[in-house]
Symmetry: C2
Subunit: 325 residues, 2 copies
């Protein structure tokens, strides 16, 4: 039984887990992400690797491969972090080689959204072996995506693929932080839903959400879905708009990639059945009539462990099949 | 030196070519497509296979693999034509097994748009071996697409992938024949451009195209691009609208799949520099600022032979690597 270590580099915490080759978590640990530059972060990752191995009762030397899930712009082939927007001081950092040299183990670096998607594919929502084509959308402040095509993560020709949050759905839509207009992310992220709610409440529309809004608290996407659940008409209209754009995003994924499963993760996916029912309804109303859609749209299953399990999954995959293209 | 036969099943003609394993055409032949049902069509394909082999000075027995490019809905794994909209009487036809039994050679059946894309990837616009991710858009009555991901054709989970003409770009846009609204095909196909031109001319707008329109001839996308070339302002406005939607389609392909090259084929691609300049301009104005786009948007190079070369390319690929996923 081979073991893998998954490291999930987040803006707040670094999480690590020892995962076996059937995807079972044998130990998990985390530390706050140091704020004083890359070398402190790498030290913390190396330290955490030893700690989590010890918790699992193994030696780092016995680990088959270490996977690292990282945000930012990456060069997958060379294991380099090109830029990390939320952690200053990171530029063209050969993270793979640093960790490999200090642990003596093979290391693979993967985008965090891709890693989380691959974890769900391996042992989460997509664990059924008949599923070979899967997409995961992470619905949070932005919308992250990971694409699994024929069982492998897609990186694209210039390491810039799988940015499904920036597919344009409305060419005259709102400006997105990426410089485009009308991206899925600018129309359907959790933060966009919350902002839209605040706008219409400011405009004086009647809703149970006014209570929260008027006491000066920020409306969240969770508040909106709770109000939908409670029968609030305005909240329902806003949630339906969001769900419609998500559904169109899903239809477009089906037309191009024809996944067997689309998995929603992230904060907004916790809205549960209410969100999924709205998305599936809008999908059915707007999809083509050429053939019956068989894609399943389902919630993620790995929760807070998705990051390190995904990183370990990528390590497992690289160990079995070599780097993904 | 192995040889392959590519068969291109079209609504008007069946074309066949003998192609060697470096993609060179050794012989090509064609016959009109019989209109009296599948068995006459299969007979014609078998006959043409012998004829083209003889033209190339080889025996069918010596062919490594036969590739068939077919329109319609296919089951790639089993080599079955599920439905063929323009050729009635075809339903659940095991085309692969029929041809394999009668020729004694291995046969692979591929969607015609995928086959043409794979031909361009192999020995056409995308022949540079550093290109591993390529998309082809065929701009005609509709918009067909073929996706090459990491050197293989993408079929998707239910054999329904690579329908890029039916990606939704405007959720409130015109109804498409597929049942959706605002598909790329319904906004930017050659036939849509011609129809839009006729509409605005009917509405009395001034343009050099009125001469053609008023003598009762159908306006074509070629007429529109010739009028742009000659400085016609209305034609330019229409062509720019089409190019803008094509550019947004290309941006969305880049965000998801990050191809190194996007190839335009089909009648409208013959408009040449005028079309490509408009599309590249709109792409640059509307794409993100996160990273510089390096994708090349270029015309197809195989012309009228793309169909059978693509079918042979798929045979070559299956012979080297087994079926694509």
């Amino acid at each position: 039984m081979a073991n893998y270590i998954g490291l999930d580099l987040g803006g707040t915490n670094i999480k690590a887990g020892v995962v076996d080759d059937r995807g079972r978590v044998r130990a998990a640990e985390s530390v706050p992400t140091p704020v004083d530059g890359p070398s402190a972060v790498i030290d913390a990752m190396i330290g955490l690797t030893s700690v989590v191995a010890e918790s699992a009762g193994i030696r780092v030397d016995d680990v088959a491969c270490i996977g690292v899930g990282s945000p930012g712009l990456l060069d997958f082939e060379r294991g380099i972090i090109i830029a990390l927007p939320n952690l200053p001081g990171w530029a063209d950092l050969p993270l793979r080689d640093h960790i490999a040299q200090r642990t003596g183990r093979p290391v693979i670096v993967e985008n965090d959204a891709n890693a989380a998607a691959f974890g769900e594919f391996w042992v989460g929502a997509g664990r059924d072996p008949s599923i070979r084509h899967m997409v995961m959308l992470t619905l949070g402040t932005g919308i992250g995506t990971g694409l699994i095509i024929n069982g492998r993560v897609l990186h694209g020709g210039f390491n810039l693929g799988a940015e499904g949050g920036h597919v344009i759905l409305d060419p005259d839509g709102p400006a997105c932080g990426c410089g485009q207009r009308g991206c899925l992310e600018s129309l359907a992220s959790a933060s966009h839903l919350a902002r839209r709610a605040a706008e219409v409440l400011d405009a004086g529309e009647r809703s149970s959400l006014q209570t929260i809004h008027q006491r000066g608290d920020s409306i969240t996407s969770k508040d909106v879905f709770e109000a939908v659940e409670a029968g609030d008409a305005l909240a329902r209209r806003l949630a339906e708009q969001t769900a419609t754009y998500l559904a169109i995003g899903c239809i477009n994924l089906c037309r191009l990639l024809d996944p067997q499963m689309i998995v929603f993760a992230g904060g907004m996916a916790l809205a549960g059945d209410m969100l999924f029912d709205l998305v599936r309804g809008a999908f059915d109303r707007r999809t083509w009539s050429v053939a019956k859609d068989r894609v399943k749209i389902v919630p993620a299953r790995l929760g807070n462990d998705a990051g390190f399990i995904g990183a370990a999954a990528v390590a497992w995959d690289a160990h079995q099949h070599g780097p993904s293209g």
